[in-house]
Symmetry: C2
Subunit: 214 residues, 2 copies
Amino acid sequence: MSTPSVPPTPGTVYVIPPRSGAAFPVSKGQRLTVIDPCGSQVSDLLAFNLHDTNEVISSGRTLDYASRIFLTTPDPLYSNRSNVLLRIVADTVGTHDFLLTPCSKDTFRIIYGDTEPHRGCFGNLAAALEPFGVEEDRIPVAFNCFMNVPIDAATGELKVLPPKSKAGDHISFVAEMDLVVALTACSALQSNGGSFKPIHYRVDGTPQITNELE
Amino acid sequence: MSTPSVPPTPGTVYVIPPRSGAAFPVSKGQRLTVIDPCGSQVSDLLAFNLHDTNEVISSGRTLDYASRIFLTTPDPLYSNRSNVLLRIVADTVGTHDFLLTPCSKDTFRIIYGDTEPHRGCFGNLAAALEPFGVEEDRIPVAFNCFMNVPIDAATGELKVLPPKSKAGDHISFVAEMDLVVALTACSALQSNGGSFKPIHYRVDGTPQITNELE
């Protein structure tokens, strides 16, 4: 099924095609599952308070409260206002990144040297979030599901290695408030083991909200 | 001399008292030096495009382009729009943090268990930036001068240890565009080796801009 701008139908698996993105409401109490159907594919995740999109996922708050840069069950993901947006409730991979911003035209220009760069996850997120009133300057560091970014503790050097996820691996979150969630099938070759694959997602549980845009 | 809201007088050393903050314009081409006068004191640094404060320092862009989480000379600090805001041109310490958000009331509530928490660097930055039209929800991960946050590469665990800075140590930046810079003398005990000390700063070079607020 193609991507909705209305709340996803519970239990339905939605497809994000390679190098694209989607945004949708998730009600407090619902469970969001992000699935890597083919393996070795990253999905950038953003979350905003549905009722006030000035409240947004914050890597800095989350890592500070966790005292850890690698997150998994049962870690909470905090907002810039120190409220819990999402809580990780299942994780078959255990390796995700929360340091790097979504790949963008500038990423492809600066890191890859592309002359006609793809808009990347950044552009895909901006387009998907535009109907929810989120401007692209508000896109922060994403929680990058399945992204494999080891750190050298002595030098601080980071590497972007192929994801450890295998076909069918997934990570699930419970929403702790009504949210706009945005997801991508990541557009950067290095992040995805050299090829572009889709991402699947599913929302379970009864939606408490209707689309405020309608 | 007390903290200005107009451009700092070149060559003058300004004092940020313990647990407080300041914000001021810095012209393209000027050099900003942040000094730890007593040793073992952190200063959170934020930078915004003076002419459009929607453009703001970005840890995620900077770390991605550097492929490193520990920055020093001659690393550039990028904005959310992938422009260089500042370039590190001198650094007598070499250990700074760019992962964690400024300490806040919530930090003291969640990590320290304080019942009447201080407003922290976050509150100090918000107050200092308010005259420049920056709302507190726009405060991102800061470049935390002298903050010592080692990472365990295997587990991702991070520790907040006393800064390595000694009395008189400093870090200098050249502005690559006209900026609003905000600085603090950090308010969190753990970050500052257990005591609260001032921060000094100095701007050198001819100001090209006048205070747009006047």
